[in-house]
Symmetry: none
Subunit: 222 residues, 2 copies
Amino acid sequence: MTAVLVIEDDDRIRLALLLALEEEGYTVRGAATAEEGLRSQRVEPADNVLVDLMLPGIDGFECIRQLRRDDDVPIVVISARDDTHDIVAALEAGADDYVVKPVAVKELSARLRALRRRGRAAVAAVQVFGDLEISADAGEVRLGGQLLSLTRTEFRLLCELADHAGKVLSRQQLLQRVWGYQTGDERLVDVHVGRLRQKIETEPANPRHLVTLRGLGYKLQR
Amino acid sequence: MTAVLVIEDDDRIRLALLLALEEEGYTVRGAATAEEGLRSQRVEPADNVLVDLMLPGIDGFECIRQLRRDDDVPIVVISARDDTHDIVAALEAGADDYVVKPVAVKELSARLRALRRRGRAAVAAVQVFGDLEISADAGEVRLGGQLLSLTRTEFRLLCELADHAGKVLSRQQLLQRVWGYQTGDERLVDVHVGRLRQKIETEPANPRHLVTLRGLGYKLQR
DNA sequence: GGGCGTATGACAGTTGGGTGACAAAAGTGT
DNA sequence: ACACTTTTGTCACCCAACTGTCATACGCCC
């Protein structure tokens, strides 16, 4: 069962949303202010949070920031008008998606589903690949619980690959994203991948996570 | 003949893209600003539009919105880094797909084709042909859930066929699209189709997916 | 059955990628 | 500023995997 928290000050809209979401099969709870919403989320975290941007007291942006500080819950913004500035700012504050009022519940529901499916995994605090754990924020990587010491380049490379878990990244793409080179010797990537493998693979000769796709590039998989 | 409009402010990138697309058989036109691009599209609409997100003056998002207002043309976003926010925002603004720089022209071309065929529906990550699953992003192909290991050529060949599911492709066309050869020995295609069949068909002798049309070419079917 | 188009196995040349060595560069502490 | 350590990028070499060609075998269609 999926729980949704709706933070919205307008009673009518909040109630309408809660009823509609309940109808869709969600467990719902509501909050009329950011403070109330944050408290609610701290006490009993929901799986999705909907936040109106225009709130009395602590506003929506700050609310998003605080929610995001504690938690990786998917946040969907409800915005009054579709003002690009507001939306960009909200996404920058850490929101994952937004809908514009008046809210079509079917659409909202679809987005919640999509968000949950897509998951915030890509930007989650700790990414897990079997016995490999990467916590980008803390700058730590563990293999079977054992803390590894990676160089900066290795770490960036790993993060880049982890951010695209399961997708192939070409040497070209890695050169650009990790090194910022527009052009350069692709063999550089090979060497660093090799070094990274020595550290993150229990058996570097046949890697289980950081795999090569001949002619395509590299991929990090679970 | 398919016309593509590229709206990108960086001269080098724009020119490179235009040349590459021309090479692929598209009619191309370029624009360095959103204004110029919008005007061009109004005067002489292209069949696909590529838009960079970072543009001087009117930015990419606004440009997409305005393009979408007048027209149903498929829009592909070119984004510098793959920042989830940017991409979500671009898709919200009305883009249909996106590619991340540095752009692999083959990939781009495939997406354009796919977009045109599917007509503005998002490009599926995984294509399914009965018990055969192709995930281009992950560089993975599965037969009955079992992961196959294809060579680069086999993979490209398969993708090319999959992008034209159900349509016959002549050896000539395949030579050109997969190998980039303007001319060459068509037997080469046979050999690789054969090798591919050994891997993707449960019964290579009478193929169910990758079928030969005597005198015409090959076809991948569901 | 004959002829043409297609499948396939073998082979040699080529390519792509892993790796260790090394020098330059960056970082660190005194 | 200096000496020392760590990290980074380049290079050369090697091997496994892949590619393209060819010869031969097969099978469809008239």
